[in-house]
Symmetry: C2
Subunit: 562 residues, 2 copies
């Protein structure tokens, strides 16, 4: 049995409260509040990408009104790594935090770019930390611990509180042969475990997978086979933050004498930051711009692209429908999907694959060759971490209910004395002299955001938008023939909760003609792609209302393929 810890033996110690706000009972928008006495801090501020249901919505973030209770006491925002589901909501959260934003160099550089887009200058609030460094947040001390993941510079946190030590793993796997030679700091987890840990909050993403997720190095062989057998361009789509994957590809390009073009805004941004910080080694003679791709013979080019999830406006999906200004596909080219398919994106991805095949390219997905490894630890890695940390209490995070439940069962098998606290968003966990438990429910919710990439949606607007009903919704409905791309009837525009005055009434009447004109300028191949058309219609309608009336309704296009 595990030893009792401070909180359970000493009533004079300030109780510790831990509140999962996002990412517990779901994938995405990770955020957790830790409060001890008068001091609170937030771990991560992430977004979730909306279900296809919510077209017109760009992002989903936690409802931040839940933080009102701690107003003026949130003394730090601690960021574990630079993925959107951990840092995407920083711009929205920043005004509610009264202290620094801590993170590794790469994480902060990525945050900085996002804040700039929102017109926010964080100044000295962004404070870089390094592994094994400890910072003070009121009476708490936050210690950073190196973990491996699919992006460099990823940190777990151990928070030393009066009630005991809690550990939040962030996203992690145990890559024993990381490309940058910076492995998960197993020794520190072991030391903390030996000294006594009150509670462990651990990533459950891959709890369903047996064994080990494998090292990023594992993809090298699959790509070597592809590089050595391809006569034309090698075009690889991966997540725009997959710095390690990019490094592997750049190394292979060097070995096989190909120039490297990074195509797509997200991937270009990430690579620029990573190169600047020394996290990505790109020999300068190797790199070319996308505009230069056509200047080289196909067999001398590697393109690293965005769009692995079939996002209509990303690089590969545009290339696949021959709609990219610089990069074209042809016979002999090979297109590699070097990423998992996020559930819900399968159809969009298949569409891009079909279009790429139509262009004459050979398409390779993960599974046919080993071209992707996950950044999240599988079952044996999760067990190892629990063994090392041997916490008194265990709360699985980062997963839907089923993953949390499975992780909880696993933890009980690993450590018999451990107590599971199976919480979801809004379940406030307290650790006090009576032990650890969920002691109250807090109203956790979600907020939809559209157009954040323009950086013009402020906090008040967000709150106003909380209830979609009152938010101004415009639904353009178009029935498009799936074969010919011909419009089957005049487009219709439906509004909901959208104030129709004389001006907007006139604009609504104009909409069908505007949509018709837009459709006429769209090539057939794009017209028969509902995902793409939705994006087009949405952009067009948003622009129309913004320019003509200064209005920003949420636009939810319904495109019916007839």
């Amino acid at each position: 049995c595990l030893p009792m810890l401070q909180a359970e033996t000493d009533a004079s110690v300030a109780p510790l409260e831990v509140l999962p706000i996002g990412g517990v009972g779901e994938f995405g928008m990770n955020m957790m509040l830790v409060a001890s006495g008068d001091d609170a801090l937030l771990i991560d501020a992430g977004v979730m990408f909306p279900e296809p249901e919510l077209l017109g919505v760009d992002l989903v973030i936690p409802d931040l009104s839940v933080l009102d209770e701690w107003r003026g006491r949130i003394r730090a925002l601690v960021l574990t790594h630079g993925h959107e589901d951990h840092i995407g909501a920083v711009a929205h959260v920043l005004s509610r935090v009264d202290g620094p934003v801590y993170g590794s160099a790469l994480t902060l550089a990525m945050v900085e770019g996002k804040l700039e887009q929102h017109g926010i200058k964080p100044g000295e609030r962004l404070t870089e930390v390094k592994p094994r460094e400890t910072i003070a947040v009121g009476a708490m001390r936050v210690e950073f611990i190196r973990v491996t993941h699919s992006i460099p510079d990823c940190l777990a946190v151990a928070i030393h509180t009066p009630a005991g030590v809690i550990i939040h793993t962030a996203d992690f796997k145990i890559d024993q042969t990381p490309l940058d030679g910076e492995p998960t700091d197993l020794h520190r987890f072991a030391e903390l475990g030996a000294a006594g840990v009150l509670a462990l909050f651990a990533d459950s993403t891959n709890v369903d997978r047996p064994g080990h997720s494998g090292s990023e190095r594992d993809v090298i062989q699959g790509f070597e086979e592809i590089f050595s057998s391809t006569q034309g361009k090698v075009v690889v789509a991966c997540f725009s933050t997959s710095v390690y994957r990019m490094q592997n590809l750049i190394n292979l390009a060097e070995q096989f004498d190909r120039r490297v073009a990074i195509v797509g805004r997200g991937a270009v941004n990430t690579s620029e930051i990573a190169i600047r910080l020394g996290r990505l080694r790109m020999p300068s003679h190797l790199q070319i711009r996308d505009a230069e791709v056509r200047d080289f013979p196909s067999q001398d080019v590697l393109c690293i692209c965005t769009g692995s999830q079939g996002e209509p406006n990303a690089a590969l999906p545009r290339i696949a429908i021959d709609d990219h200004r610089h990069v074209k596909l042809g016979d002999g080219d090979v297109v590699v999907f070097s990423a998992r398919s996020i559930p819900g994106n399968e159809k969009a991805i298949a569409r891009v694959m079909n279009h790429a095949a139509r262009r004459g390219a050979t398409v390779i997905a993960d599974g046919e060759k080993h071209v992707h490894v996950s950044g999240h630890g599988a079952a044996e890695e999760l067990k190892l971490l629990i063994s090392l940390v041997k916490p008194r209490y265990f709360t699985p995070i980062h997963g839907e209910y089923r993953q949390l439940d499975r992780h909880a069962r696993m933890a009980r098998n690993v450590s018999a004395g451990l107590e599971v606290i199976l919480a979801e968003n809004g379940d406030a966990i307290v650790f006090d002299e009576h032990g650890g438990r969920i002691h109250r429910k807090v109203a956790a919710g979600r907020v939809f955001i559209d157009g954040t990439h323009t950086g013009e949606v402020g906090d008040e607007v967000l709150r106003d938008r909380r209830h979609l009903a009152g938010d101004g919704l415009v639904v353009p409905v178009m029935a498009i023939n799936g074969i010919t791309g011909v419009l089957e009837d005049t487009p219709e525009v439906i509004t909901r909760g959208f104030v129709v005055d004389k001006k907007t009434e006139g604009l609504l009447k104009e909409m069908p003609a505007v949509l018709l004109a837009m459709l006429e300028q769209t090539p057939i191949e794009e017209r028969t792609d509902p995902g793409l058309m939705k994006e087009r219609v949405r952009a067009e309608v948003q622009k129309f209302f913004r320019k003509r009336a200064g209005r920003r309704p949420l636009v939810l296009p319904v495109i019916m393929e007839v």
Copy 2:
């Protein structure tokens, strides 16, 4: 090089035309027309399940107006096997065929049930055929060849025409150890290949998978592990037509001394037919009704359920939200997903898994244990068939463009002399004295159907519905709080192409109240499930218009989780 065949040497022979109508360039709604001189026949008449886009649409079938050209000359409908994507549209196609419907005993029994639902009595038109049997269709002879797949009684066809022999593989794999001891008739394919085959039309579904798909027997071990370690009920969701899977499960239930309840209409129907025809062996002492499940201790029960794709009204999804009259889940129970996830269904499936875990059940998906094998041949099986048949021309079918393209490349590697004709729906292929080629494009299209399960949508209605614009569309819009299940605003009802007269105008005004009343009677857990709510709202609105006005608009609910 392959020998010249009749069509290419003899101009006096009637040209052969083959027209893929559905299932070539897409998955589902398989249908192909074969015409020689004055005689034509159809191979299969399948449906496709609609994309989530098309809520309110139950089924998609090929636009049958394409058959007008051959009116009065379609002398037979040949069915390869009893899956929905091959027989689901028979009721709609039947009136356009002037001759018999040929198929194996199991296939025809399944068709008969569907026709009954549509109020059609086929009488003697349903004509049973057996493997190696040949029937005449005008100047053509159609020969049936046994193939293995995930359902018993599956037949490929070889059509002997004046221009030469063409082979259509249907869906197939090469299971060397089929449960029923009826393997793919490799000998007959070899004989036909030796004698000379003009063209092969072959299933491309699993062309992306290397190696062999494996035998249905391969799942036994995974299930043995589950049966031997489960304390509670074993609840397995599989496709409702997976007769072999059911047989494996029944055998294991016998071995492990569990009673078997088949739960869900589709699975009950299939099992009844298969038992009656001797395709499924169910010891009578083993079977119980779903209403009897609660009469037995959990450890003595196996439930075989519908709902492997997360369909809201199927058995397992209802059981998982505790909404099934007879079957409840609890601690110790194990829920097994013994099917692949059809792309687009991943989120719905994850939802069911989460709900099942909330009930205390352990959830096992394919991959964690080997609990599913595909019914479609993988790369080596496809190559073997091409080798045996060694056709002059090769056209890949049953796949999206990417699968067809890959299958074509594979075929060229297997047989250097073979010519690929890469066609999609509507590309009419001719074989005449100038060889084989696509010689014209025919307007292929799709038709949406709602409510076919009521059997009341006739051919004329279908035609009327072809253009959604004119078809009467009702869009109920509800914004439901994703946490509390509370309605965020009065529901709104939008119509499109729906004739609003005095009566329907009144009904439209009543709709919000009707929806509100329905919502109030719905438990919170269901209200926060948009997929389920869509089904509920759709059913409610359809019923409302049907009962009150005799109208059958297409209902497309928009449920927004706020």
